[in-house]
Subunit: 133 residues, 2 copies
């Protein structure tokens, strides 16, 4: 069961430059900013209704987001759907033969998360997340 | 003022193939399906929380979405933010020197809408919309 859009991930070269538009020009509120070493990104999370915008700046060109920027340039990177039970959701998708990036949920910025393969979702990198209290 | 994510637009070669994943596999509800001649697309709108997924299949390779598919392939196309007053929002952005696609709001699938230029938003095509009752 998918409850809502948890967030939309946007790959950018510079968080500071991106915040000039999303925070200063559009007026969205930054509720968190963090460096996630194992994902190789600096992230800023902006509130938009009951969802978030996640701005992602790579820590190195070899990170997943760094490679995305080199290949495609700045722009929409992934979309994250919130589900109440990411384990059950992932098992259900596995049973349906959906192509996955992660075989098991793992800890991420949004809680317990996993990524499906873009091939499964018409070229869209889909993340599933169950927030952790 | 931005209230929420109104929808996320995804460019696809075939609505039918895309619905197999977003409707049948993920279980999202299709609440509308429509052909919009002047935008050159067939669209399916799926409910997700208080937002929507908008699947877009081009009517021809010369349409904006057709050109996007030829250039980038299937995937995330644009993001639409809901605002209570798209006219005032657009005037405010103009005054701040934001690069625009539309100089005036026009009628679209989501109500009165306008597009900002991807250059303004770090490579993201941003739509603003005020639903019309």
């Amino acid at each position: 069961m998918i409850e809502k859009i948890h967030h939309i991930g946007i790959a950018v070269h510079s968080l500071d430059a991106a915040l000039k538009f999303y925070r200063d020009t559009l007026g969205l509120h930054v509720h968190a900013q963090d460096t996630v070493q194992d994902q190789g990104v600096k992230a800023a999370l902006l509130t938009i209704g009951r969802s978030e915008i996640e701005l992602l700046e790579p820590l190195s060109p070899e990170s997943a987001v760094g490679k995305f920027l080199a290949r495609k340039g700045e722009g929409l990177h992934h979309i994250c759907f919130q589900t109440p039970d990411v384990d059950a959701e992932l098992e259900g998708l596995k049973a349906k033969g959906v192509e996955l990036v992660d075989q098991k949920p793992r800890r991420g910025l949004a809680g317990m998360i996993c990524f499906l393969h873009p091939k499964a979702a018409r070229g869209v990198l889909v993340e599933l997340a169950t927030p952790v209290p």
